[in-house]
Structures are given as structure tokens and as C-alpha cells.
Symmetry: C2
Subunit: 316 residues, 2 copies
């Protein structure tokens, strides 16, 4: 085996694509960011991405023979088995787009594609807040709320390889309606969008303003934040009684700012739980920040290196 | 490999122990039932169980060389890795009781122990309502509500090998308090105990009386049944957004009688779901009835026969 293998990790989001050369220790050696510009078409984005990868390999002094593979986390829905991005929702026009084949042909290495929430969870397990723990659930509180589950060292997949939709776990049937089709799911109560929208009815422009006003004792803002904390605690209860993670990792913009606020609510609720062993079970803030997806994408490459791989999974 | 291997499947409950000789097709060849009599001590129960197994082997014409192994499903908590029953709650005095070693020594074959809800789920996957499907979630609605998850062909295990507690998924924060430590979990709203208790406040003696009165149009009874249906539908929503089963199997006394009532509520709610692919995803009534645990316990033996096993997992 190559003594110093490198991976390319790629994180494709609605507005930008981040890519990095990562070594087998999870250290980022070189990085690049490019605008996604999904509306300019998928082939053009792939061509720009391939050029960026060329530059990243050069910058990291990575010979072609050192490249072990390419891992991609992408805003879902994606089809990991087929290597397809099926996300016309936030990547305009990108439906049934094969991102794996062109990169595999260009670089002659295996290429893996996963949902970005799963890649982030894997990154936190490999080099972040959940090293050596299993199972692990990660929730990312941003504009929406996404999640990933790592169990038995693998990304948990449901029917037809689909990805858990942890933001849409029901919390309160009296809550607001959500595009997912129910009322009062976690995302409808605790996402940045939900908090911002609730704030607007109280004359507060956005989610940061709601948190700031709550700190100052603004009644409506405090109520909105309490509701979000309660939603997070209830969803955590659900996750600890279903997936039973050894650690629940909380990431995303809201948790970067307000982790303690939410973790104390979760801990207070879990303290009453009698039906699972709470000993050694913890809630932790994500450690890798915006790099979790990149590092996790690289982890897709290195975790497969124990078994010889000549082609990506989509070649089957 | 033996051309006609047999397994002994054992289902240990609070009041009775069922045991059977089962062939590799999942057919029950001979069966026995004995009272658990947990309070008379664990060693005595094991001795009686071993004698019952002797008789079962004789009745099924099973030579010692035909016996491939013994599988046990037991009312939890159990520790499958250590082969220990840790259930002083419904099996008086049975704490840290090693059921695997004595049976392995007596019969000279591998012995496996699992939670009875997991064994039942495995039974339904092997020979019941979920054959060939994966992942599968089974919920059993009885006195309480238990569940098991089969994913990637294996029993899903959480932190420290623990077993999901699907009856304690939160449904409605305005619901009744539960011994699990929260309010309004599935079990607190839809178990036989919960329905019976709610019925008593309306002058109805037990859960069957509540269902019967609801059919006659009794207002309070209808309200209780509607609340239970809504709880089942909400919990199903949670399970389809977390474990994403290909099939949700509903078993237990309540579902034997009232499956359609609950399945229509679940289907009606899931019809609105936008965030997972509902195509090919189904809710089904358990097919094996009270034999699911027995058959699943035998499945523990046969599913391990593909790889050579000389000793049970607790020997490690």
C-alpha cells in the first residue's frame, strides 16, 4: 500500500463547493472553494471541479500514484449506490446527475458519493467530536435540520439505501405545519428558518435577533427559544430510544453559537429516562465546524482502504 | 453440514416459557410450554427447561448430532453478548443470570440469547410478514409496547449493545406521564394498559371493553381509541423518518384484533409525507402470532450456520 496516501474530499452545497486534499490522518493539506453555480449546468460544474482537484493535488505535492480516491458529500437527495445526485430542489436542474463516473475516469481512482449529513457524521466520528464511539447520531441545526447515523462503523441506510430524515421527527402535534407533511416536527420548531419566522411575528428580523432578544429578556423571544430547546430535547429523547447513540453530536450555525443552551435542555430531559442506560452516553458539540463534510468525504476513501478496491461502488 | 439440522427455539416470558424444535425451513416439529415460576429461582427454571428440551428432541426424532443450536428470546433487559438475563422487573430475582452456559454445556451446541422483541422481529423477517425485506421494524402492542429493528440482516443494537425502546418514542407532550420518564410516549397512549386505564375513568373495565364501546359509538371510548390511533400513526412517522423500514410489522394482542383500525390511521398520515420515498413501503400485520418469538429464536441458530460456529458468542 502507498506509504502516504491522499484523498480528495468534496462538499457540494447549494451555493458553494469546498474541496480539499486530505491525508490519512485527516489533516487538510490544501483546500479550494468554488461557487456551485448549479444553474449553469451540471457538466460545467464537474469540469470546474475537476480543474480544482488538479490544482489541489499540485498544491499538496500529491503525485497521481498517491491519490487513493475521491469522496463526495452532497446536499441530498443523492443515490450513493448509483453515484447520482438527485437534488433539483437546491441544485437547480441537477437530477440523476452522475458525479462519480467523470471523476473516476479523469483521476483513475475510486469515487464515493454520500449525503452531506452522512459525510459530516462520518467526519465527526473519524476526526471530530465522536472519535472511537459507536453508534453516533449527528444533528446539524442550520437553515433546516439534517442528520446522519453511524452504526457498526457504517452509515445507516434505510429502505432502498435512503437516508434518515432526522429533522422531521415529530415533537409536538400542536406545532407549525412543515413541508415534510406533518406538524410540529423538529425542523418546524428549532431550525434557523423556524426561529426566524417565529421571530418575525414578534417584530424580530431573524434567528440571531431572536436569540439576542431572548438574552435581554424579551418575552416573545424567550418563548420561541424555549420552544426550540424543548423540541431539541424531545427529538434527542426520540433518538436515544431508537438509535441509542453513544454520543449525540450537535452541529451547524445554531449550535456553534448556542450549544450549551440546547445541551442543558437535552441533559435535563434525559436525566428522567429510565429505559436506557445513560451511563457514558453524552451530548457533544461538533468539533470540525464547516470542515466536517470535507473530512468525512475523505473518510469515505480511507475507511475502504483496508479492503482492496479497484473501482467505486457505482461500477457494479 | 448436517443434512437436516434442527434448532431449539425458546421464548421466556414473565408467566410462561415456550420452547419448540424447529427445522431449517422454520417449521415447528414439536412444542412445549412450561410455567416460568421465576420466583422459585433461576437454577430450577433452567433445570426444568433442559428437561423440556430433552423431551422436545425426542418428540421430534432429533438425534443429538442433528441439533445445530439453541436460540433464546427473553423478556428484556438481557445482555446478548454476555448471555445474561437482567430482568428482575418481570422475572423476580433474575438478575445477571447466565442462561447460555448451562444449556451449552448440557447440549454441546452454540446457544444465543436475545431480547424477545428482537427475536420476534427476526422471526417475522424469516418466516412471517417481512420475508426478504430490509430494514424491518416490528412493534408489538400488548400490555406494553416493545419493538425490534432488523437492518442489514442483523438485529440493530445501540450503545453497549442495547436494544431500541420503541414504545417510549414521544408522541404528544400533553399526554399522560409514563414510567419511562416522559409524557405522552407511544406506550402511554396506545398500549393495552394505557387504553384500559383511560377506559376506567369512563366506566369501562379494560381495553377490550374500550374497543367494543367505541364500535357502539360510546363517545369517551371513541376518543380513547382515536388517541391511540393517532399515537400509533405519529410513532410510525417517527420510525419511517429514522430507521426507514421497508415494512413496519404490527403485532401483539391489540393488532391481532384491530390491525386495520391502526393501519388505516398510519397510512392516512404517511400519505402526506414528502421526505422519504413511500413507494414499496408498507405496514403489515404480524403473521406468526405468538410463535414469532419461538421461530425467531430458532432463526438465531440457522442464520449463523453459514459461517462455522463451534461456540456461542458468550464464549469469547
Amino acid at each position: 500500500m502507498n506509504p502516504s496516501p491522499k484523498a480528495i474530499g468534496i462538499d457540494i452545497g447549494g451555493t458553494k463547493i469546498a474541496a480539499a486534499t486530505v491525508n490519512a490522518h485527516g489533516t487538510i493539506l490544501a483546500r479550494a472553494t468554488l461557487p456551485t453555480e448549479a444553474e449553469q449546468g451540471f457538466p460545467r460544474a464537474v469540469a470546474r471541479l475537476a480543474q480544482a482537484v488538479d490544482r489541489l493535488l499540485q498544491q499538496a505535492g500529491c503525485a497521481p500514484s498517491d491519490l487513493a480516491g475521491v469522496g463526495i458529500g452532497c446536499a441530498g437527495p443523492v443515490d450513493p449506490a448509483a453515484g447520482l445526485i438527485n437534488n433539483p430542489f437546491t441544485l437547480a436542474g441537477w437530477n440523476r446527475c452522475d458525479v462519480v463516473s467523470p471523476l473516476r475516469q479523469r483521476f483513475g481512482v475510486p469515487v464515493w458519493l454520500e449525503n452531506d449529513a452522512d459525510a459530516a457524521a462520518l467526519g465527526e466520528c473519524w476526526r471530530g467530536a465522536a472519535q472511537g464511539l459507536d453508534p453516533v447520531v449527528m444533528l446539524t441545526f442550520g437553515t433546516g435540520i439534517g442528520g446522519g447515523v453511524i452504526a457498526g462503523g457504517e452509515i445507516y441506510r434505510g429502505a432502498d439505501g435512503e437516508h434518515p430524515e432526522l429533522g422531521h421527527v415529530p415533537v409536538d402535534p400542536a406545532g407549525p405545519p412543515c413541508y415534510c407533511g406533518t406538524r410540529g416536527c423538529l425542523e418546524s420548531l428549532a431550525s434557523g428558518t423556524a426561529i426566524g419566522k417565529a421571530g418575525q411575528t414578534a417584530g424580530l428580523p431573524d434567528a440571531p435577533a431572536v436569540f439576542a432578544a431572548a438574552t435581554r429578556g424579551h418575552d416573545a423571544a424567550r418563548h420561541i427559544v424555549e420552544r426550540a430547546r424543548h423540541a431539541a430535547a424531545t427529538a434527542a429523547w426520540t433518538l436515544f430510544h431508537t438509535f441509542l447513540p453513544k454520543r449525540l453530536v450537535l452541529g451547524g450555525g445554531i449550535m456553534n453559537q448556542h450549544f450549551s443552551l440546547f445541551a442543558t435542555a437535552i441533559d435535563a430531559q434525559l436525566r428522567h429516562a429510565t429505559q436506557f442506560t445513560r451511563s457514558g452516553v453524552t451530548v457533544a458539540r461538533a468539533a470540525l465546524g464547516n470542515d466536517a463534510g470535507l473530512v468525512g468525504a475523505a473518510a469515505l476513501v480511507f475507511r475502504r482502504m483496508a479492503t482492496p478496491v479497484s473501482q467505486g461502488p457505482s461500477a457494479s
